[in-house]
Symmetry: C2
Subunit: 116 residues, 2 copies
């Protein structure tokens, strides 16, 4: 009986290059995808940008409707999506609710990009 | 006739804080939203991460199917979406097409985050 040299599986798959760095986990990828989906809308990107650009980093719906050219219910809907996704914090004072960028809320996106 | 002092519109809108920084333009927001939509999928985020982690920053479909636990047609579809969105470049060599992260393709996302 002739002895047969068995190659490691890796060597048999000649097309496959080895992975040399950490890869984002399934769990982190799912959570990051959810966050990016909330952000992946032109109006929502502009809302985040406008809030960050406001004096004191705070804005209410009334600050955003005119520059966005959108109705108050539409802006409120986008603010709700961004708040639910963790990008904004909301605090009610008198008649208005004021929104801020949630500290560290863009860190996961930022870390992903830095690692690529 | 009593003279009436007219206040600038800004002062009449007591809820509105002034904008102190640049805001992402409608055009840039639309283009960034399209890019983020392409990226906002768990499998696609893992594909980008896996390609970046591969030796020489290059991978083919055959490198990705097993670690992702997805079929070759599914992985090919995701690679097509990421390539169309400008995140990957594709070069055919022999039987296989090899994918790399397109240089600078994450810069717009990165700039947006830095500005917030």
């Amino acid at each position: 009986m002739t002895s047969i040299e068995l190659l490691p599986l890796r060597d048999l798959q000649s097309c496959c290059a080895p992975i040399t760095r950490d890869v984002v986990s399934e769990e982190n990828a799912a959570s990051l995808a959810r966050a990016l989906k909330a952000l992946a809308d032109p109006a929502r990107l502009r809302i985040v940008s406008m809030i960050a650009a406001h004096e004191d980093g705070e804005a209410c719906v009334c600050d955003l409707t005119d520059p966005l050219g959108l109705s108050q219910p539409t802006v409120s809907h986008h603010l709700k999506v961004l708040t639910a996704a963790g990008f904004l914090t909301r605090s009610k004072r008198g008649t208005w609710a004021y929104y801020r960028i949630a500290p560290g809320s863009l860190d996961a996106v930022s870390s992903f990009i830095s690692a690529v």
